[in-house]
């Protein structure tokens, strides 16, 4: 499985395969629960039950709840970046952006916009109560935006986008539209606003397309 190494332990204690598997099970369960019901609304007993473990195992692998939460932040961030990298690392045309948009919309429409973006919801919930989690999330957002802006850079270098396009700003705007779209879709239980928001951002990027596509402007 591709996300096997995402939850690598950070300590240098001797650790067995069984221990690793347990830790992974806890992380995966905590991630899932915190996604659907929020971080603060998820209790350690919920995690214990969902992961088929015991209290001592929770505290064997994590110092306390805050430590577990931070591990979930890291875990989920790694998953998102991994997924997004797969979808964006070969981005080199506007139609590629459209495909990327469609994939996100489709995934979110499966549950009628519920739950929103795993990163965005955590960001709002944690950034005012755990500085370390906040900065981790901020860095993850930056990495995500970079995947986008790298793609836009390639498009600009190849002449698809005009020279006056600013990949960083376009990426930030697209990310904001995505996050705002997730939020509105979540509140409305309807993906429509997310589509509108993403289409706005794509339209904006489209306005920076070169007149004669395909050839570098040299």
């Amino acid at each position: 499985m591709s996300d096997e190494q995402v939850a690598a332990p950070t300590n240098q204690r001797r650790i067995s395969q069984r221990g690793i598997a347990t830790r992974e099970r806890i992380l995966e369960a905590a991630n899932r629960l915190m996604f659907v019901r929020g971080v603060n609304a998820t209790t350690l007993d919920d995690v214990r039950e969902a992961s088929q473990t015991s209290k001592s195992q929770l505290y064997h692998h994590f110092a306390d709840k805050q430590d577990l939460v931070r591990a979930v932040v890291r875990y989920r961030g790694a998953l998102v970046i991994q997924r997004e990298r797969a979808g964006l690392e070969r981005l080199k045309s506007f139609s590629g952006l459209v495909r990327w948009r469609n994939a996100l919309v489709q995934a979110n429409s499966l549950n009628n916009g519920k739950y929103g973006c795993g990163l965005g919801s955590m960001a709002l919930e944690l950034s005012d109560q755990d500085e370390q989690a906040r900065s981790m999330l901020s860095e993850t957002f930056a990495a995500w935006e970079k995947l986008i802006s790298d793609g836009l850079h390639r498009m600009r270098d190849s002449g698809v986008l005009r020279q006056d396009a600013d990949p960083e700003k376009l990426a930030t705007g697209l990310m904001a539209a995505l996050q705002g779209g997730y939020l509105l879709a979540n509140a409305a239980h309807d993906v429509a606003p997310m589509e509108v928001a993403l289409d706005m951002a794509l339209e904006h990027i489209k306005s920076f397309l070169s007149e004669q596509p395909g050839e570098p402007t040299r």
Copy 2:
């Protein structure tokens, strides 16, 4: 004070001025606390202490915590709509939108993007745990968007915007950019992404401005 009637009690019991004042004090304190530290992280004892009241008063005026939370949602929603109406009801030019944008950015820059939008953060925190709160928030977002789209309609009717502009979609896009901007600014503790996001949305609206401004296209 202009927000005096925002927290009108809903029951038909006889109620004294002192009771109303107490209720208002509780609501105001709960609103403030839940804004800075989140709904779930705010305890009733926090509210009791901050509002200089007692447990019995909390439960005299509100059935339970959920009832208080819903009252806060209504209260905050009313405040936001009131504020936004003041800023948007006379909107009739693009420069008016820019002024609106600047006011929001400036307000949020006062605390370096912290706390985000009072509605947006509540929406993400509550929409998966209180259906009634979610739908109230969803309606508030709709009312907010309507203030924007009404302004855009006026701009289109007066010829400032072209006929092919879609005020509803533009308003949704702008709202998503705003909410996404709040979220990213909150995560980064920096208003910059919020500015970029709003500028993207404004630029998009700008692309629908008529060539010869001022005159109706008739």
